[in-house]
């Protein structure tokens, strides 16, 4: 079994996109979108993070097991955040 070697071009493209998105996210912060500021910022961050994971960390070419592991991590992290927030957000709901 040999590993997949990602071509240099792709790395450069990813890098350029990441830099661009950093610029975009910084600029967007100055535009008033109400509560969507946070949404946009997180969406861009997630996009960037996916690029890093998929290409730099090679998840796109990795065996299935690795991808399952990554999804697992995201899933449990989401659980931690979601179930905690359920408590805080629903505390003000009427009984």
């Amino acid at each position: 079994m040999t590993e997949h070697v990602v071509p240099k071009k792709i790395y450069i493209a990813v890098w350029a996109t990441l830099l661009l998105m950093t610029l975009v996210t910084t600029l967007v912060a100055f535009v008033d979108l109400g509560r969507f500021n946070t949404v946009v910022a997180l969406a861009i961050a997630t996009f960037k993070a996916s690029l890093v994971v998929l290409f730099f960390m090679g998840a796109k070419y990795a065996p299935r097991l690795t991808r399952v592991a990554i999804i697992c991590g995201i899933f449990f992290l989401a659980l931690l955040l979601a179930f905690s927030m359920v408590d805080y957000l629903s505390r003000l709901w009427p009984a």
Binding site: E3, F56, F76
Partner: protein, 227 residues
Amino acid sequence: MSHSTEAGAVTHPALQTPYRDLDQQRETATLGMFVFLLTELMMFGGLFCAYLVYRTLYFPSFLEASRHMDLTIGAVNTAVLICSSLTMALGVQAAQQGRGKTVVPYMVVTLLFGCAFLGLKAVEYYHHWHAHEVPGFGFEFTSSVPGVDVGKVQLFFVLYFIMTGLHALHMLIGIGLVTWITICASKGRYTRAYHNPVENVGLYWHFVDLVWIYLFPLLYLISRMHL
């Protein structure tokens, strides 16, 4: 103990005890690294959870506190880390293609970027220190903005320092690891067949980058429209 010499298995000086062949060794190491990174993810996850809860509860104070972050340094640092990730990825690629020695310059550049990040971070901390924004060390904060509670602003700074501090600690460890890789690479340790340390340190480095990719918008960019 005789171990089965299956197809393609070469007895390599770098082959370690429980493994049958180098492929198995590399796959195991990579898996181990990813699993370790899951642990790291959940560790930062606990902090993100605390941050998320408090940010939701105390949004105005967090917003006000966030304005005291140095956006320029934050953004530049993000770029620096992204660049370091690129050089790291290229270094790993060199190792994968068996260009063992070319790993060295890439790693050195990565190191420089890493140090630059920490340097800028230190400058930033220093500014916070001067502005009395370090909780527990003469924290002072006055705000003319209505509705801002100093206690909650302090909470933001506490989380800020813990999150970026833990991240910086990871950077330090990363720098140590990259140095080690550089030394080993310059001795020509890594070949096309054996280079998992390079790959794993690469994974670690990208992960640290990844954490920062979230820290930057969460801490620096809560909302900047009314500067």
